[in-house]
């Protein structure tokens, strides 16, 4: 965990339709609820067509650029194994890669909650309270998906 005055840089990457932007939105909202300065950046456009998608989230005392500079991400959360190689260069030396292999997908009530399960894995390393995560997950998803996603988060957080 970087010093508390430093900006934390997270990149979430995957393929269109996997919930990359949903995951980065939940992370950004959690940091916002913690009272931090937050910026989240993403490239829309043709993401629906199954291409690579990535989104940057930065938070701390004061954040300027909304984009994580290449080679400076503290954490890289990748939702599709095939995208690890493409996304890897954003990670700083010694940065943490969080990939789908870290979650036992068979335990997920809903396979589509992999994005939130990987946020649970990320949450182990961040100084953001669980109740803020839970509130952000609920705010981002329709009520019928709350239980499955809170379960997914818990599986990632406390395997």
């Amino acid at each position: 965990m970087p010093g508390s005055d430093a900006v934390v840089n997270v990149v979430v990457a995957g393929l269109g339709g996997q919930g990359v932007l949903k995951a980065s939105g939940i992370l950004a909202d959690t940091a916002f609820r913690a009272g931090l300065d937050v910026k989240k950046s993403e490239i829309h456009g043709m993401s629906q067509r199954g291409g690579s998608v990535s989104s940057d989230v930065r938070f701390g005392e004061r954040v300027f650029s909304p984009m994580v500079p290449a080679g400076e991400a503290d954490f890289l959360v990748v939702l599709a194994a095939s995208q690890v190689e493409v996304a890897q260069p954003v990670l700083k030396p010694g940065g943490v890669l969080i990939h789908p292999g870290l979650v036992d997908e068979t335990r997920l009530a809903n396979k589509r909650s992999l994005n939130v399960a990987l946020l649970g894995v990320l949450a182990r390393q961040l100084d953001l309270a669980d109740n803020l995560w839970h509130a952000a997950i609920k705010a981002a998803l329709p009520e019928k998906l709350h239980a499955a996603n809170l379960q997914a988060f818990a599986i990632g957080k406390n395997p």
């Binding site: 393929l15 269109g16 939105g25 950004a28 909202d29 916002f32 913690a34 009272g35 300065d37 937050v38 910026k39 989240k40 950046s41 993403e42 490239i43 829309h44 456009g45 043709m46 993401s47 629906q48 067509r49 199954g50 291409g51 690579s52 990535s54 954040v63 300027f64 650029s65 909304p66 984009m67 500079p69 290449a70 080679g71 095939s82 995208q83 190689e85 493409v86 260069p89």
Partner: protein
């Protein structure tokens, strides 16, 4: 933990513009979809504002001008290339001026995340003579929208709000504070010399415009949204828009002049700033716009090396600019490119075009992906609507055996946007070999995220309204061969119909109608709703 503040939220630049428009009492928001601007009107609608899609950007701006003539506040949104389409009304609206505030959002796309070029629309502000604000985050997107309305009403002039992809689509904190004096209730006040631009009235109007711009320039020097961030005198940086954020991070010790109203530029502020530092560098994305403004005024500033004109800037690139580093940039691995969805109705059409060895004058939309393997079935793509004109030009001049292979392919939203005039040209100047126009009607504007258009018969908020029926339109214009096929239900039909049409030396229109796979469910629901409501 800090107290929660209900007025403080995380919002994209686009959402912030919509929130400000609502706070300012904007009576009408109109535009045409285009990444990265699309969400502004969708958010304005969701907030309860009156938002509507126009068939194209020119019409949107004209509607906005009419609303502003009536004294109402209006917001018109488009992507950068949309302003090319809307340029005609923009240039003369600068002369006529407005009564209610008129804000024109141009969302530029440096780096071409989803565009066919990366033109820098700051040039348009200069060419048309309209003031231009450049926000650098969502807070400024909010504040500058309000300021744009204030400037627009004070000087009775349209104002350009120039956003860029990273400002539109990045979420940053916004304090939704600040209100404007309420808008005057709309009423018609006749002003013939002010609004009827015959030469006799336009000549004095041009003088009025230049006088307004001189006043705005003076205001910008003394009270404009210019900001100086103190730092060491060794290094001074002049910047604007998103580049400001990158600069603050890449050169934390530099003294920075951040320009908010970049046309007319605050030249004297730039001169004082440049004199206050040892080295003065202009860091801007795209064209050397501020650099040229400074140099024209005789201010000694450095510009970024030419290689940084291409693509968007980021912290790493700004560090390199500051270090005057022109060594080749490390290439990042390419991601997986987008492709037509499995089951997309465009797929069978492009297979047919490929199998028949057609020369395809293409257009812009999801279907542009037909250019990629395995289809490799598109030969040209210039701008929206160009499929028809370019196809006709090819037909007119190619030897007949090649001309007979030319097909113009255009999406439904694109057809309404700027294909209808092309169709008129096809009727008016038919090639000797005839021509085949293929309209891919998937019932939505898929490319930009499933917006309605006049061919769907539903408004921006999905409520039913008048519908343009392509078959009727084509027949009314005198096209005899008008055929409709479902490219999924009968996958051979499209090949058969195309082959027949190509064999005739006549004009044919084939409408391949089948909803976009991703939108089909929602379209069905909306149709049900509108039928139930009728």
């Amino acid at each position: 933990m800090p107290q929660p503040n209900p007025d403080r939220r995380l919002a994209s630049g686009n959402e912030a513009v919509a929130q400000a428009a609502l706070a300012a009492g904007v009576a009408l928001g109109t535009g045409y979809p285009g990444t990265p601007s699309t969400e502004i009107l969708e958010a304005f609608d969701a907030l309860g504002g009156r938002a509507q899609w126009a068939p194209n950007e020119k019409v949107a701006l004209e509607v906005g001008i009419g609303a502003a003539f009536a004294g109402a506040r209006a917001l018109v949104t488009m992507k950068h290339v949309g302003l090319n389409v809307a340029a005609d009304p923009l240039f003369t609206a600068a002369y006529t001026g407005v009564t209610g505030g008129l804000v024109v959002v141009s969302a530029d796309d440096p780096g071409m995340a989803s565009s066919q070029n990366e033109q820098d629309n700051r040039r348009f502000a200069v060419a048309a003579g309209v003031p231009m604000l450049e926000p650098s985050d969502s807070q400024e997107a909010y504040d500058f929208t309000l300021l744009a309305i204030t400037i627009s009403e004070r000087w009775r002039i349209p104002v350009l709000l120039r956003m860029t992809t990273r400002v539109c689509h990045s979420a940053t904190l916004v304090q939704t504070k600040g209100q404007l004096a309420p808008a005057q209730p709309p009423t018609f006040v006749r002003d013939v010399p002010g609004r009827v631009m015959i030469p006799a009235y336009a000549r004095p109007a041009h003088h009025r415009l230049r006088a307004k711009l001189a006043e705005i320039a003076a205001w910008n020097e003394s009270e404009g949204p210019t900001q100086v961030v103190d730092g060491e005198r060794a290094m001074g940086i002049i910047t604007s828009g998103i580049s400001f954020q990158h600069v603050r991070e890449a050169a934390p010790h530099a003294r920075v002049l951040k320009i908010g109203l970049s046309y007319p530029p605050p030249v004297e502020a730039m001169r004082r700033f440049a004199a206050s530092v040892d080295r003065c560098l202009v860091v801007e994305e795209g064209d050397p716009y501020l650099y040229e403004a400074a140099r024209t005024a005789g201010i000694a500033v450095e510009q970024k090396p030419e290689m940084y004109r291409f693509g968007e800037l980021n912290v790493s690139r700004v560090r390199r600019i500051v270090a005057a580093d022109v060594s080749p940039e490390p290439a990042l691995p390419a991601g997986k490119p987008p492709e037509l969805c499995p089951g997309c109705p465009h797929r069978n059409v492009f297979e047919a075009l490929h199998d028949l060895h057609c020369i395809v004058a293409g257009d812009i939309g999801c279907y542009t992906l037909g250019v990629l393997p395995p289809f490799s079935a598109m030969d040209t793509c210039v701008c929206m609507g160009a499929a028809i004109g370019v196809g006709l030009g090819l037909r007119h001049t190619l030897p007949p055996e090649q001309a007979r292979k030319v097909v113009s392919v255009i999406g439904d939203s694109t057809f309404v946007h700027s294909g209808i005039t092309g169709l008129v040209e096809m009727v008016y100047n038919p090639p000797a070999t005839g021509h085949v126009l293929l309209i891919l009607d998937n019932g939505t504007t898929a490319m930009t995220g499933m917006q309605e258009h006049p061919g769907t018969g539903r408004r921006l908020n999905h409520e039913p309204t008048g519908r343009v029926v392509f078959e009727d339109l084509a027949r009314t214009l005198g096209i005899k061969n008008v055929l409709t096929v479902d490219p999924i239900a009968d996958s051979d039909a499209i090949t058969r119909v195309l082959r027949e049409a190509l064999a005739r030396d006549e004009l044919s229109i084939i409408i391949a109608r089948r909803p976009c796979l991703l939108a089909a469910g929602t379209i069905k629901l909306r149709e049900k709703k509108s039928n139930a409501g009728q």
